[in-house]
C-alpha cells in the first residue's frame, strides 16, 4: 500500500485541440515540464517522440463527431518514474500483442512501434467513448527491464496498474472500515487529511482546507494541506464581517463558488494566502444541514495561470467531500449510538462504482448473439460481468461474484476488471489467467478476508469452440440439440490459496447452441414458499428455450421474476447469454 505521507508527484494536465497542427505544441509543453523536473536529454527526446505519435493517432483517428472534443494530455513525474497519459475520443483499437515494423517500403505503420520502443511500458485502456494511452518511463539509473523477458515486463506493468487502483481503493476501504466499526478509535482529523490528500492527487490540486460547521454560525478548520492555511474559525452569520470571505459565502449561499486570479477577495480572506490561485469552494450538506466547506485549488505561477478544474474533477471533489461529510456526521452519531451500519450514501457510491463497471454496450462476435443482465439487490453486492473483444472472431467473457457487500466489494470488482484487461497475453487462456489473477490479488483479498468466484470463457466463433476456466464459480451451461452440459472445471475461488491450480475445459459450439454464464443469485433465488430456484430449473429452462440471446435474456428475467414474485431480492442476479 502506498504511504499517504509520501510526497505527491508533480503533474501537468492540459487539453489539446483535435488538430494535427497543435500536436507539436503539446510535445513542447510536456518537454518543458519534464525538463523542469530534471529529466535527461535522452528521456526528453524519447518522450517527445512517443507523445507526438500518441497525439497524432488520437487526432487522426478521431471520428468527425469527436473533432470538437479535445485530446487530454497529462504528465506525472514521480521520483524514479514518469508517466504520460493521452486520452482520445476515437473508437479505439485492440493494442497488438506484438508490434513489428512494417516492410521498409510501407509509408505508414511505425507509430506504435516507436511508442513501444521508446517507453518502458505502454498500456492502452479502452473506455466507452474515450480511451487512455498510458506511457511510462523509468527515471532511475537502473537498466530498464529487458524487453526479451515479455512476462517480467507485463508483471511490472500490472503491478503499476494495481498500485494505482489500490491507492484509490485504500481511501475507500479505510472509509469502509471506519464507518463499519464504531469502536475503532480513529483520528478524524488524520483521516480527513489523508482522504483529502488523495483527492488532491486525483484531481491535480495543490492545496486544500476543510472546515467543519459548528453551532450554525462558525466554520472551523478541521484539516488543511499545510499549516499556514490553518486559519482558525470564520463566522458565517448574517451581518458579521467574516461573511465577505469566500468560504463563508459558499456556506451561506449553499452553492459551489469558483475563484481565480480575477476574483475580488476581501482583505483578510484566507484564500488570499494563495496568490493567483484557482479552484473552488464546495459546501457540504448532510440532511440539508451544513456540515462544512472544502476549499481546494491550484497555485498560480508568476507567469502562467493553472487550468481550472474540469467538470469531472469538480464532480470528484464533490463526491469525496460528501463522503467525508457522511463520515463526520456518522462519527458524531456514533457518539450516541453504537450501531454499526453502512450509510445509505456509501451504498449509493458502491452502486455507482458497480454500475460504472458494466459495459454500456456489448461487443459483437461474428455469427453469435450476446446479451447480458444484471439486477442489484438492495445491499449492493459485488457481481460483475465483462466482455473483452479480442478479434472479430474471439472474445473473453467474464462473470464474477465478489463475496461481500458495499464499497469494498465494488472496489474489488473494479480491480479484477482492470487486472483482466491489463493481461491481454493470457486472454485466450482462462485457466492460466485465473492463476495469474489469483497470485496478484491474493494478498489484498486475504487481508480483508474476502474472496471472489469467477468464470472466464474464451470463445472462438470461427472454430466454434469455447474454453472455460472457473474459480469456484457456478457451472457454465451449454445447451444444444443433444442436451445440456454443465461445466465446472476445477479451481478454488480467488483469494483462498496463494498458489491455486486451475483446470481448463474445451467444448464445441454446434449450430443453435445456447451458453449461459450466471451468478448464484439466480439459483439461490427463493419464492414465497422458501423454495430455491436451483440449478435443475435453470438447466430445464435452457434445454427448452430457443431463440436469439436478447429474447432468451428477457425470457429468463421474466421467469425469475415470476418465480420470486413478491419475495425480496437478497442477492445480485447477473447472467450472460451467448447464442449462435
Amino acid at each position: 500500500m502506498p504511504d499517504s505521507g509520501a510526497s505527491r508527484p508533480a503533474a501537468l494536465r492540459f487539453a489539446l485541440p483535435c488538430d494535427l497542427g497543435h500536436v507539436r505544441n503539446a510535445s513542447r509543453a510536456v518537454h518543458q515540464f519534464l525538463a523542469e523536473q530534471g529529466c535527461s536529454e535522452e528521456i526528453l527526446s524519447a518522450c517527445d517522440l512517443a507523445l507526438v505519435e500518441a497525439c497524432n493517432n488520437a487526432v487522426q483517428y478521431a471520428p468527425e463527431s469527436a473533432r470538437s472534443r479535445p485530446v487530454v494530455v497529462e504528465a506525472i513525474c514521480n521520483p524514479g518514474r514518469l508517466e504520460i497519459r493521452v486520452t482520445d475520443h476515437t473508437r479505439g483499437f485492440d493494442w497488438p500483442e506484438k508490434i513489428e515494423l512494417p516492410t521498409p517500403d510501407s509509408e505508414s505503420g511505425r507509430g506504435l512501434f516507436l511508442i513501444q520502443s521508446l517507453m518502458d511500458s505502454v498500456i492502452y485502456l479502452r473506455g466507452s467513448g474515450e480511451n487512455t494511452l498510458v506511457l511510462r518511463k523509468s527515471l532511475s539509473d537502473e537498466v530498464p527491464l529487458n524487453r526479451s523477458h515479455q512476462h517480467l515486463e507485463n508483471d511490472g506493468l500490472i503491478t503499476g496498474l494495481l498500485e494505482e487502483i489500490t491507492s484509490c481503493y485504500e481511501s475507500l476501504s479505510a472509509i469502509f472500515r471506519y464507518s463499519a466499526d464504531p469502536n475503532h478509535a480513529i483520528n478524524l482529523k488524520k483521516f480527513a487529511h489523508r482522504l483529502l490528500t488523495d483527492l488532491a492527487a486525483v484531481v491535480g490540486a495543490e492545496w486544500f482546507v476543510f472546515r467543519s460547521a459548528r453551532d450554525h454560525s462558525h466554520i472551523d478548520v478541521l484539516t488543511a494541506s499545510e499549516s499556514a492555511l490553518d486559519m482558525g474559525s470564520i463566522e458565517y452569520r448574517e451581518g458579521h464581517s467574516d461573511t465577505s470571505f469566500l468560504e463563508a459565502q459558499a456556506a451561506i449561499l449553499r452553492k459551489t463558488l469558483w475563484f481565480d486570479e480575477q476574483s475580488t477577495l476581501a482583505e483578510a480572506d484566507p484564500i488570499r494566502l494563495k496568490p493567483r490561485a484557482r479552484g473552488l469552494i464546495y459546501p457540504v450538506f448532510v440532511n440539508d444541514e451544513l456540515l462544512g466547506t472544502l476549499a481546494i485549488g491550484r497555485n498560480g505561477k508568476a507567469n502562467a495561470a493553472p487550468p481550472i478544474f474540469t467538470k469531472s474533477q469538480a464532480n470528484t471533489i464533490a463526491s469525496f467531500a460528501q463522503f467525508l461529510a457522511i463520515q463526520i456526521a456518522n462519527a458524531r452519531l456514533h457518539e450516541t449510538s453504537a450501531t454499526a451500519r453502512i450509510s445509505a450514501r456509501e451504498l449509493e457510491i458502491a452502486g455507482s462504482i458497480q454500475r460504472s463497471l458494466l459495459l454500456k454496450e456489448l461487443p459483437t462476435l461474428r455469427g453469435f448473439e450476446l446479451s447480458a443482465f444484471c439486477r442489484s439487490a438492495e445491499q449492493v453486492g459485488g457481481d460483475f460481468y465483462d466482455v473483452l473483444k479480442l478479434s472479430e472472431d474471439t472474445a473473453l467473457f467474464v462473470i464474477a461474484d465478489v463475496m461481500g457487500k458495499g464499497v469494498l466489494a465494488a472496489m474489488f470488482a473494479a480491480i479484477l476488471r482492470a487486472v483482466l484487461r491489463a493481461t491481454p497475453e493470457l486472454n485466450r487462456e482462462p485457466a492460466a489467467l485465473l492463476a495469474r489473477v489469483n497470485r496478484l490479488l491474493f494478498d489484498e483479498l486475504s487481508e480483508v478476508d474476502m474472496f471472489i468466484t469467477a468464470q472466464l470463457v474464451f470463445v472462438d466463433a470461427k472454430a466454434r469452440k469455447l474454453i472455460v476456466g472457473s474459480a469456484g464459480h457456478c457451472p457454465l451451461l451449454v445447451a444444444d440439440a443433444s442436451g445440456v452440459k454443465s461445466l465446472s472445471p476445477e479451481g478454488m475461488p480467488l483469494g483462498i490459496l496463494p498458489d491455486t491450480e486451475f483446470v481448463r475445459e474445451t467444448v464445441d459450439l454446434p449450430e443453435h447452441c445456447r451458453v449461459l454464464l450466471y451468478t448464484d443469485g439466480l439459483t439461490e433465488a427463493t419464492n414465497a414458499a422458501g423454495e430455491r430456484f436451483g440449478q435443475e430449473r435453470l438447466m430445464e429452462w435452457i434445454h427448452h428455450t430457443r431463440g436469439p440471446a436478447g429474447e432468451l435474456q428477457t425470457n429468463l428475467a421474466n421467469h425469475l421474476g415470476t418465480f420470486q414474485f413478491k419475495s425480496s431480492l437478497n442477492d445480485d442476479q447477473t447472467f450472460l447469454i451467448i447464442t449462435g
Binding site: 497542427g21 517527445d48 517522440l49 509509408e107 507509430g111
Partner: protein, 100 residues
C-alpha cells in the same frame, strides 16, 4: 523549406520539423518540383529537430519517387534525434545517409 536544383538532383533544405502536420505537404511539394530530367532527391536534415512516423512515411514515399526514375534518396547530415529514429525503425539501412 528551401528547394534547389543541382542537375539531376533536387535538394530540399531548411526543414525545421518533419511531422504529421507538414509531412504530406512537403512530400507533395517535392514531387511537384521534381523535374522530368531529375533522378535523385536529397534532403538536408541538418536543421531538422524532429521527425515522427508520418515524416518517415513521407521519406519512404520520396524514396519510391526517386527509385521510380532509377535514382536514390539521400539524407544529408541528420541531427542526432533524427538519426536515432532512423536507426530505431531500421530505416538507416534503406536510405542513403550522407554526412558532409
Amino acid at each position: 523549406m528551401k528547394l534547389q536544383n543541382n542537375g539531376d538532383t533536387l535538394r530540399a533544405s531548411a526543414i525545421a520539423e518533419l511531422h504529421a502536420a507538414n509531412a504530406n505537404a512537403l512530400r507533395d511539394e517535392m514531387r511537384r518540383a521534381f523535374g522530368q530530367t531529375q533522378r535523385n532527391i536529397e534532403i538536408d536534415l541538418s536543421q531538422t529537430s524532429a521527425v515522427d512516423s508520418c515524416g518517415l512515411g513521407a521519406l519512404v514515399a520520396l524514396h519510391k519517387t526517386a527509385a521510380a526514375r532509377g535514382g536514390v534518396l539521400r539524407l544529408i547530415n541528420p541531427t542526432p534525434p533524427v538519426q536515432q529514429i532512423l536507426e530505431l525503425t531500421r530505416m538507416h539501412r534503406i536510405f542513403e545517409i550522407i554526412k558532409e
